[in-house]
Amino acid sequence: MEDNNRSKVEAILFVAGDPVGVPKLAKFLKLSVFDLNNIIEELEEFYEQQYSGLQVIYKKNTIQLVSRSEYGELVAKFLKKSFNEPLSKASLEVLSVIAYRGPVTRAQIEHIRGVNCSFTIRNLAIRGLVDRSDNSADSRSYLYEASCDFIKSIGLKSLKDLPDYDNLHIQEDVIKADKVEKKKNE
């Protein structure tokens, strides 16, 4: 029965193609989120043990079925898609701040780098490496976080697999940056 669920989940993720919300899928399959998470974990283990051509990636509350990252160059060649384009030093810095500290505002990013970043952020957003969302705390600014495409571009399972994530994720400076932002707006 559980095996059945594993393959049901696999079939749905396969057909959906895009990221699927875990709560939404749980509701659809009439399972608790807890049970569904166990099934997804089982699917992951299965892929790992069998050295499957597929893998699962997580972002927030969504999961997506993707091709195994080890075959990145092979698959890119088959699809005639380009490999990762090189990014400038500035872009990489902004991308890193967003990946580790996201969701962050532009002011928070600029507080760390000490320089205006609006164009770099816009470029990253247009390239699809960064997602933008409304900031419920301040309607005049946006929140930025790393996208699924970013996770896929370096073959991770989730942002939590970034090197030294737990350490760098902690946001000591956020309160200070908010202060700075307020000063600017005064």
Partner: protein, 240 residues
């Protein structure tokens, strides 16, 4: 003095960090004081500082000048706000250093091309899924809102370029004023200032003129008025 390369720095923190790292120092107040001169020298020489970030450079300069003042005048005490700002600067540098390092790793990870791909084939359905809640009026509102948020072709840099007077210009201006009046109070020189940045530029210009021994300054009490005097004979550069 550390010879500054003629490269473009991504903002003042980048320059400051590089100066500190070049001397293999940790990020402390002492090391910030240590590289302050190099930092200021770089700003004076470097005409290529992106004008867009000039104001950021100048604000950091003013903090470094503060640190230098403290080193020269031990009785000089920071206000609580200055204390917090300096603490903040140190914290930002530590953070920035971490992210510089990690961003190199991310860059290397990207070069490996260990890319996962998703299935994004085009699918077509026989039936159309029409959302219920859309009217043409609503669609119009949404579009007009988007247009308002499109960034103008500007860059902030262009505004800054118009507004900020360059250090050199300011020195010429200040020299002029002093020639005419021989003695001038600092606050008078900044009466026309339109922004904090303008004040900082004037202050930097004054420091530069002290260094070039064009002027000397006097301050009789802490936070008191700074009197700038034209030097007629060579004398010591620092005012008491």
């Amino acid at each position: 003095m550390f010879q500054v390369k003629t490269k473009q720095f991504e903002g003042p923190l980048h320059l400051l960090l590089e100066l500190i790292e070049n001397q293999k120092l940790d990020i402390t107040r002492v090391s910030l004081t240590h590289v302050a001169d190099d930092f200021l020298a770089h700003i004076e020489k470097e005409k290529g500082i992106g004008l867009g970030s000039l104001s950021e450079f100048l604000l950091i300069s003013s903090q470094l000048i503060l640190l230098k003042s403290k080193a020269l005048l031990p009785i000089f005490e920071f206000t609580q706000e200055e204390e917090e700002d300096l603490e903040d600067l140190q914290q930002r540098l530590i953070e920035y250093q971490k992210f510089q390092k990690i961003s190199e790793e991310i860059g290397k990870a990207r070069e490996l091309n260990k890319i996962s791909f998703s299935r994004d084939e085009e699918r077509t359905f026989l039936s159309v899924f029409i959302p219920q809640d859309i009217s043409s009026k609503y669609l119009n509102e949404v579009y007009v809102n988007i247009l308002q948020e499109v960034p103008a072709k500007e860059d902030l840099a262009e505004h800054v370029m118009e507004e900020v007077v360059s250090l050199e210009e300011k020195i010429v201006q200040l020299k002029d004023t002093i020639e005419k009046r021989m003695k001038i109070a600092f606050h008078e020189t900044v009466e026309q200032a339109e922004s904090k940045v303008d004040v900082v530029v004037t202050f930097l210009a004054m420091l530069e003129m002290i260094k070039q021994r064009i002027v000397s300054v006097q301050q009789s009490e802490m936070f008191g008025e700074i009197i700038i005097k034209k030097n007629t004979i060579k004398e010591k550069t620092h005012g008491r």
